[in-house]
Subunit: 341 residues, 4 copies
Amino acid sequence: MIVIFKPHTTAEKIDQFSRWVQAQGLQAHLSRGENTTLMGLVGDTTQLDLEQIQSLSIVERVQRIQEPYKKANRKFHPQDTVVTVPAKGGDILIGAGHFTLIAGPCSVESERQITEVARRVGAAGAKVLRGGAFKPRTSPYAFQGMGADGLQLLGMAKQDTGMPIISEVMDKSQLPLFENVDIIQVGARNMQNFELLKEVGRQRKPVLLKRGLSSTIEEWLMSAEYIMAGGNDQVILCERGIRTFETATRNTLDISAIPILKQKTHLPVLVDPSHAAGIPWLIEPLSRAAVAAGADGLIIEVHDCPEKALCDGAQSLTPDQFEQIASGLRPFISLMGRKFS
Amino acid sequence: MIVIFKPHTTAEKIDQFSRWVQAQGLQAHLSRGENTTLMGLVGDTTQLDLEQIQSLSIVERVQRIQEPYKKANRKFHPQDTVVTVPAKGGDILIGAGHFTLIAGPCSVESERQITEVARRVGAAGAKVLRGGAFKPRTSPYAFQGMGADGLQLLGMAKQDTGMPIISEVMDKSQLPLFENVDIIQVGARNMQNFELLKEVGRQRKPVLLKRGLSSTIEEWLMSAEYIMAGGNDQVILCERGIRTFETATRNTLDISAIPILKQKTHLPVLVDPSHAAGIPWLIEPLSRAAVAAGADGLIIEVHDCPEKALCDGAQSLTPDQFEQIASGLRPFISLMGRKFS
Amino acid sequence: MIVIFKPHTTAEKIDQFSRWVQAQGLQAHLSRGENTTLMGLVGDTTQLDLEQIQSLSIVERVQRIQEPYKKANRKFHPQDTVVTVPAKGGDILIGAGHFTLIAGPCSVESERQITEVARRVGAAGAKVLRGGAFKPRTSPYAFQGMGADGLQLLGMAKQDTGMPIISEVMDKSQLPLFENVDIIQVGARNMQNFELLKEVGRQRKPVLLKRGLSSTIEEWLMSAEYIMAGGNDQVILCERGIRTFETATRNTLDISAIPILKQKTHLPVLVDPSHAAGIPWLIEPLSRAAVAAGADGLIIEVHDCPEKALCDGAQSLTPDQFEQIASGLRPFISLMGRKFS
Amino acid sequence: MIVIFKPHTTAEKIDQFSRWVQAQGLQAHLSRGENTTLMGLVGDTTQLDLEQIQSLSIVERVQRIQEPYKKANRKFHPQDTVVTVPAKGGDILIGAGHFTLIAGPCSVESERQITEVARRVGAAGAKVLRGGAFKPRTSPYAFQGMGADGLQLLGMAKQDTGMPIISEVMDKSQLPLFENVDIIQVGARNMQNFELLKEVGRQRKPVLLKRGLSSTIEEWLMSAEYIMAGGNDQVILCERGIRTFETATRNTLDISAIPILKQKTHLPVLVDPSHAAGIPWLIEPLSRAAVAAGADGLIIEVHDCPEKALCDGAQSLTPDQFEQIASGLRPFISLMGRKFS
């Protein structure tokens, strides 16, 4: 951490600050220039409150040198994390050379629908079934999902097909309903719902953490750090597009986030092309781009009859289209050297 | 709502869609151009799912004409809403010609601190005392606030000074602790925590709803609509800066949001210049600008000793500075024709 | 174009407006709802000034239905445009199934440097040589490029290697110096330098038009339209990243822009991964992603000794690294069915 | 400037870098931590190429400590710059305690129009007349302004009323036509047209430099530095809104930019509320906010008959409305202690 002092700060005040720094167990390296005096704080500065220091009347600016996350930081954990999802036919591994397809409808609607979709996407190569039971909707007047009943139907499809299931939790009070859910999804709008993060950090099952609509990669990793700080290191990151000025797509898929994350963290990185674009025909090219950029998997919305979907159908593919896309992705996945069976 | 059909859509399919529209109790006005065919959907379209329609294979694009919010919409409620906060010395009114100062420390730290700050800001013109008990912090390693104890200390300051209090809730499970809190604050990161919005919608006390870091004004009003749909119409909106590419300030205060909101909604609009800027010396000019743009009040962080603050102190003013700012604002408030005593 | 009238607009005023619309050779379709009255303007509305109509006192909002570009619009020119660059060994074709690599140093520095780089990138598969002579630099104190001398050195490398050359023009007064340059590059900062666009529209050679840092895809296509309206239809679009809040990369590569452009326009689309990321090791994954998303080619900075580069060296690769990347891209290009020899 | 080295960089390489730094006339202060080694570069680092250093294989990151602008920097020129515009009735001063209103039509259309508007806005308190002759239009099919004829009409209005005039230049080749124009305006889209900046830097008359749509404040000051580096220190900055995700306004007026600029630079700061909002009724509240935030003046579009305007009329006010706004601003200007007659 670098502290830049305001011009004309007295040597005495800097000295006093230096003593405080040392009392925190850090070293203080002073550097005096013609126009600027600054101090390097050396040691473990993750516990320091950057904003508190910024507030001091002698301080002009503070710059962090080290990343504020530790458990999620590849520097301290060079090995890739592998997330393990128990399944009937053998554990499903996410990360570390595997490529994982997750697919299913935006909202669970009926037993017939979810089971049928599960069979179809499973046959096409999906290893995990997604399905929304609690739906975050911008409007209070829109369909909010089937809730507990939806989770139960998901459970039936799991029973039928042997596929592990993933569903989104919107509030920590819903977690008891997720006992049979294999991967807990934290949505973009809840990426900084810190109470929820703490609670899923106490769980002992994988968590898929979507990136917030306007979250920096560093903030996203800090949210993963919240979960890991609670003792749960089975965290999967999922890029789903960020908010920009461009209106041709609903969000802008930040494709660079994939290689950046691969360098900064050891956690697996998935991409959600359905929500990134908001346009069904963009799912295919964005999926290919995600594979080519190094993603560990994809999570795609598939619906058996998009024209009747109760919600978010705009982003959905039919099972036939999904099959075609999955099949088209295979050679790319293979070129990237990923295991995908 | 305008539906633009894809080129070469058959008359039969458009007809079928038209019948569905009419079955929803709406009128369908078709308009055929050389290059484009479109349909105007006339009637109450707030219940329609724009994305569902967008997903239809015959649809190129859908454009909303009417706002999707009703209870928050000035068109249907032309009169300004006045939020009433009970207080010892008589109700405090927010909105409708009154100008309200809310002030207090970022975090409650001790009885002495909160009571002292309360007295000072009250003397300078603040009518409501703010104080953080549950703190949303980017890092799991940062101080997370005093929690229930903090709320209790706030209650003591209320008892001592007669000032109503406002504090931020981070999860619906914390609401029972807020019984003695007069205004419930929903923070920027929870603006789309829909479960929390539904729950504060069931409360019968004022809610201050901050704008999300990257929320459009329309999304913000939809979140207010969530609260109001629950039966709680005592909603105060609070602009606190949005996320942009500019790095000279922590956020970019969207000053235009004030007059825009005044036209679109009847709810009172406050501004938080402390968080918008993240720089203490910007609080004064931004406060003046907010007054001049038509804000109904300000919420400002004030700390008795920013150099010792445990958190967010960077944005805080001393009570002396606050007094000076409040006094400098008076003539501007008066020019704007607002009641401020 | 849809015109939404303000509430309580009199029938007489709407009638008057309707007559004006018809005088412009358009049809006016009126649609009266309970809360909203609107009019569809049918016909060729590209000549209409949306903002002029927006300014009318009776108008609440105007929404365009048709794209405002014509010559660049795939609707009216379904066939892919092929840009032809004459070269010693036979024309080089850009677009329409070909994949084109363009490479070379950020700045031309010396005959030895540019010739050496040309040979190396040519051997690795690049078909066109890039080199900066006029450099847009944020600081007036930074090296501004070799100017005319740089173009001459580029010409020597062209002579030596037979590779066509591309270089950036910064002002229309420089165009006479570009006689020997095969593709004129218009940089991101000049994407809306309309005088320059008009002038390159009068040229009869290919123009590579980079996307502005904060330009929407529609604005970008309107800038292409400026060039095409001048009679020059040899326009290549080049995505190079947009400005967002994310600071981990210099810009955010908008990967979705590639398929979106492929649908909206018939012009070839290239990607510049060097400027998009600003980080050399990101060039490889972003290049792969661009290929997989459907780009018609790449323009990459390559320098023989990045550690001595006079400018922008941060983004450069060595010829060895470029060779490795180009070779790694081949199977992806081939999977995409593109011709690349 | 702080240089952070990659982990495991050898002492020898750091030593070599240190010698290079010293050869540039700078001091190098090394600081070795457990996880990070960094070097402070002390001295005048404005001539250093940050990106060149960033490109070195041993460097992880570079952070600037000092601002890269000198002539525009308040640190080196604490006194406010006063821009002087010669006028019949005595010099008009911009900055340093004066408040200056500039007004006039978006586009010059006729002698009658411009002279009439000039008289009306002059009577209402405007000191300088604006009028567009060369218009930057997104569409090649839109009216591009009257060009040289427009400047001549502006000159007539100047002759008639004695008001100095300001108009936008779009290309350096147009500058000879601006001899009679008193303030040269560089528009948002040309803020980084560096050839144009250099050329207006060679002029000896005031330049009004608008902020680019997505330019940071630092980039904006670097563009001012371009003009000042050419020897022209009569630069006026004009905030006109930045591009964000919000769609309720055309741009987001960055009100914080005013106090930030006042601290960082000695140049006068004006605000253009017409283009910031794109909505006529927002001009009044945004003008008040700009005054209250400390602006040195405003530039406002006024048209005698907006319903007939050929371009950009959407943002225009009638002279009557302008008079009313100007009169409403007086007490705010006076509260801010500005001279305005």
